[in-house]
Amino acid sequence: MSSTTATSGLSRARRGLAPGGSGASPGRKSKLSAQTTRTFFWLLLPSVVLLVLIHGYPLIHAAVQATHDGDLLQTGNFVGGENFASVLSSPAFWKAAQFTLWFTIVGVFGSWLVGLGLALLLRTKIPAGNTFKVLLLLPWVVPIVVSSTAWNWLVATPDSLIPSIFRGLGFGTPLFLADPTLASITVMVFKVWVSFPFMMMMISAALASVDTTVYEAASMDGASKWQQFTQITLPLIARSTYISWILMTIFCVNDFPTIYLLTGGGPVSATTSLVVLAYRTVFQDFATGPGVAIAFLMTMTLVVISVILYRQIRKSSVE
């Protein structure tokens, strides 16, 4: 469902305009033109008002806050780039940036690999294949608040189920949420668990549109399974892959509940991502300026990453 959106949104953006499917005949259009423009204006108005209120105004206000030393109650004095300077020179920021980077890399490629594997497996004829497809979407459908609670039950204390199993197998008792390194890994595995169904849907949709006779022809020409995979399958799903990478990158960088609900950013800020850091800075340390500055830096990074991946989409869609 979201994949639909995403795809069409991006393809719209890629073409640089709203498409409008089949073209209207120009003659009739000009006749209706004045009325049409007026109607279009009124149809678009509620959307524009909301966009300005919920996205436009806050963005401008945030820019003001990021350059002032105020709090949640008052704007404070203009301090220019001071907030940005203090944020950029704080070790906490760079630690959070580093964690966000790893979290995003593992989240994007981990969920992609799992989703790709399952999509390929489910493409073959399997008894009750569609049932599995639906069941495997559940991690993505279930609210994070619920699944994080379940994961907590499974791993949080030394006596939880998973640590007990490890102990039983003679691996000691891993402290999945108390050890900084293990907690980081656990959060990333949790993220992959939540996200792989999205990737599976995207890739399944792309695979479903591939003509299977291509493979028959290829195997007649003596292409091995691996060659078929790298020479046929991967190029054919390249576009949806890049799109899903872009979206998952945005999802991962902006992710708050997956991390916050499982570890709260701890232990000792080992799993504090930039969003969690921004949230804490504003709502726990009440330092609005630096907090918003962090959010702004994230925004800029996201734009850069999107542009890079966006070019890849254009390249891949040339064929």
Partner: protein
């Protein structure tokens, strides 16, 4: 008519497994064995993946520590509804989510129509603007909105978070609607214009009437986003009786971390509506001609 294609579940590419008569004919005995081997593999993976969800359900119906009940019980659910504000949280969540769904569709459908049919520079610029806004982290706008809403009495208020949900679902919802309208031939509207219908009239009478699948998938998207949100709720909701379910579950969990059966009972209450929506409307979950827009262009 392409609108019909979308509505048809079998044509939803995401769930359709390519199964041609040809492959069935050449299935040898080894192929059959391969099928069952893959069946076992996917079964094992599915079971492992669903462990956290199964654990939640099982614990929710397991007798608690102080309980005298044996076997499976509804005691935990009863305890949660009697001992906490669960009913209020559920109601709050339903009210905000359903309002979000209705208003999102009401705002996104007309805007999506303009995006789909309009050809001016302003329209394409607006389309791009929606894309840019979508990718920005919500935390950036949450802080200014908090200050703005505090002045208007909209903090700790269900209307306040509903407005934000509508705002944040709107961008994607508009594309979803636009993508769906793209699949409806403009000749239908042209026919109604000749009959003297206005642009607005043909939008409501011709286009919207043929857009149920698109509206439903947009509605599902808005439903999931509003129902599952935690970040907006944690910033804007303060009082216990204004909490939505995510906040309720989380606060209850923090206060009763050892009373797992009750926590899980509440968690089941929270995950049931999205699963019901998903189970009943699952064919719309993956609609929208993904195949076409992905591979076709």
């Amino acid at each position: 008519m392409s609108a019909v294609l979308h509505a048809h579940p079998e044509s939803g590419p995401a769930l359709g497994i390519a199964d041609t008569g040809k492959t069935r004919r050449v299935l040898s005995e080894a192929g059959m064995r391969g099928r069952w081997w893959r069946f076992v593999l996917i079964l094992a993976i599915t079971v492992i993946v669903l462990v956290p969800i199964m654990v939640t359900v099982v614990l929710a119906f397991t007798p608690g520590v102080n309980s005298t009940a044996t076997g499976l019980t509804f005691e935990n659910l009863a305890n949660v509804f009697n001992g906490t504000l669960a009913a209020t949280w559920l109601q709050n969540s339903l009210v905000t989510t359903l309002s979000t769904v209705v208003v999102s569709v009401a705002v996104a459908a007309p805007a999506g129509y303009v995006l789909s049919r309009g050809r001016s520079k302003a329209v394409s610029g607006y389309s791009l603007l929606l894309f840019v806004m979508q990718s920005l982290p919500i935390i950036t706008s949450v802080v200014p909105l908090f200050i703005l809403f505090a002045g208007m009495g909209l903090v700790d208020n269900l209307l306040g978070i509903t407005i934000i949900y509508v705002g944040s679902t709107m961008t994607v919802a508009t594309w979803m609607m636009a993508a769906y309208f793209d699949s409806i031939p403009i000749s239908l509207e042209e026919a109604s214009w000749i009959d003297g219908c206005s642009v607005f009239g043909s939008f409501t009478k011709v286009v919207l009437r043929n857009s149920l699948p698109g509206i439903l998938s947009t509605a599902i998207f808005a439903f999931l986003l509003a129902w599952n949100d935690y970040l907006v709720a944690i910033v804007f909701l303060r009082s216990n009786e204004i909490f939505t379910l995510p906040m309720g579950v989380q606060s209850f969990f923090q206060q009763n971390a050892t009373d797992w059966t009750s926590v899980m009972a509440l968690a089941v209450v929270m995950m049931l509506p999205p699963i019901i929506v998903f189970a009943t409307l699952n064919k719309y979950f993956s609609v929208g001609g993904i195949g076409g827009s992905l591979a076709g262009r």
